[in-house]
């Protein structure tokens, strides 16, 4: 992290959303599904710190991968958490290590949010 006004280091949490479920029923090859999962949520405070508006594009980077997504505000999130709906976009950030359990780290990886 070089410049705090351009990036923030947070923790990645992936999970279900109503929009993602709705898109899934329409079909995972359809545009609605892609729109529902190609996004990330940040606290309004982090959006403000990075001078981001809702709908702006950012790069999310973990040690396992990086993706470009549009960001939206979620006032229910703590400042150090980025929420990404479960799906192919979130999965590009998740690694292969299951710590001997079979379960990858869908929640808890360090993620850097970089303003484009």
């Amino acid at each position: 992290m070089s410049d705090e006004s351009f990036s923030a280091v947070c923790t990645l949490v992936t999970g279900r959303t109503l929009e993602q479920a709705k898109g899934m029923h329409i079909g995972k090859t359809e545009e609605e599904y892609r729109k529902a999962v190609d996004k990330a949520f940040l606290s309004p405070e982090v959006l403000s710190k990075l001078s981001l508006n809702e709908g702006d594009e950012v790069m999310l980077k973990t040690r396992c991968g990086k993706v470009r997504v549009r960001v939206y505000a979620d006032a229910g999130l703590p400042e150090d958490v980025v929420f990404v709906p479960m799906g192919p976009t979130a999965n590009a950030l998740v690694g292969s290590d299951t710590e001997g359990s079979g379960m990858p780290s869908f929640k808890g990886l360090q993620v850097e949010v970089v303003r484009s």
């Binding site: 979620d74 229910g76 359990s101 079979g102 379960m103």
Partner: protein, 423 residues
Amino acid sequence: MTVERNVVCTFCGCLCDDINLTIEDDRIVKVEKACGNGRGLFEGYNPDPIMPKVMGRDTTFQEAVKEASRILRSARYPLIYGLSSTSSEAQRMTVQLAELIGASIDSTSSVCHGPTGLAMQAVGEPTCTLGEIKNRADLLVFWGCNPLVTHSRHFARYSAMPKGRFIPEGRRDRKVVVVDVRRSETAKSADMYLQIKQGCDFEVLLALKALIMGRTLDAVEVGGIPAEVLQQLAVEMKSCRYGVIFFGMGLTMTNGRDLNVRGVLSLVRELNDHTRFSALPMRGHGNVTGADQVMSWLCGYPFAVNYSRGYPRYGPGEYTAVDLLCSGEADCMLVIASDPAAHFPAPAVKHMETIPVIAIDPAESLTAAGASVYFPTAMYGIDCEGTAYRMDGVALRLKAPLKRKRPSDEEVLQALIEGVKSC
């Protein structure tokens, strides 16, 4: 036009069995009582026959069986995965196929409540039915789960809202507590919300257990929660008549995994010295509980089983699907009623793209779209009968309100068993 009453919805582990469907010309034209997800399941379903595909091209059922059997028979390390959105009868047949070809077999449990299974094997399962909760529970703790989004009718039918035999006033007689990193939709409707720091569940559960045991905390906060708030929750837990902890992926997908769930189960065991308390995992897929049950009867283990030596061996972290794909060991994959291409980490999906994949699914999922062989099948609980297990382990019989025009999962699996034997 006919109306089929009390149909079971198989979208999630709630298995709501009070859905009314209006049927006209072999299509569901009206869905009553279901949540948004349930409506999506029934309204979007088209039962019309679809041709199987081999390498993306339409083919006959016999040709698809022949090619799939050849792939399975020639594989040196086949992986069978999925099972959670099909009937227990099909699950049983899948285990039979795994044993026949010496495959590893794993269900979606491994990327949902697999760590819960590990914790239950270590601590035990302090469980109960949703009926008991409806009639008796006066304290509900939702930990790392968001049922208002994932299990939309859970509150209304089973937990927070219903009036029960010993809960005459319904919601007014119950206290709802939510522990979560996010102030989720469920957290907003709770009486008490504890915003926990990401990755601190184990510490908080341990601190709560200490408080229940009468110890004092030498800390002002644990995991972002003030000590006095934890003390208040400990008092609520000890003084309730019947408490339940519902827990979800917030515990199993994060640092600690099975240790977090061991924390829940140990806490509940401790609470039973003071009052009646249970713990219940919020199971996602409609019959993922059935997958655990059937695998346990037949293999002795709920998931992550390997048959390469002719007898079942258990190995979470070794025989689990993500590990077998990321290590590059699996050289073919049979996917039944699930979509790992959409839900597995990128390295696992990348390996799937390099090996032959056989998909059995009513919908053309991302996995089915990229499969070498794809069998479109009937949907359990819509045009195919069967058995499914609710999240509390109660088995329900599924009706088939629509006439079946496609093969069932069982029929495809039976054909594959015969095909592999004759290869």
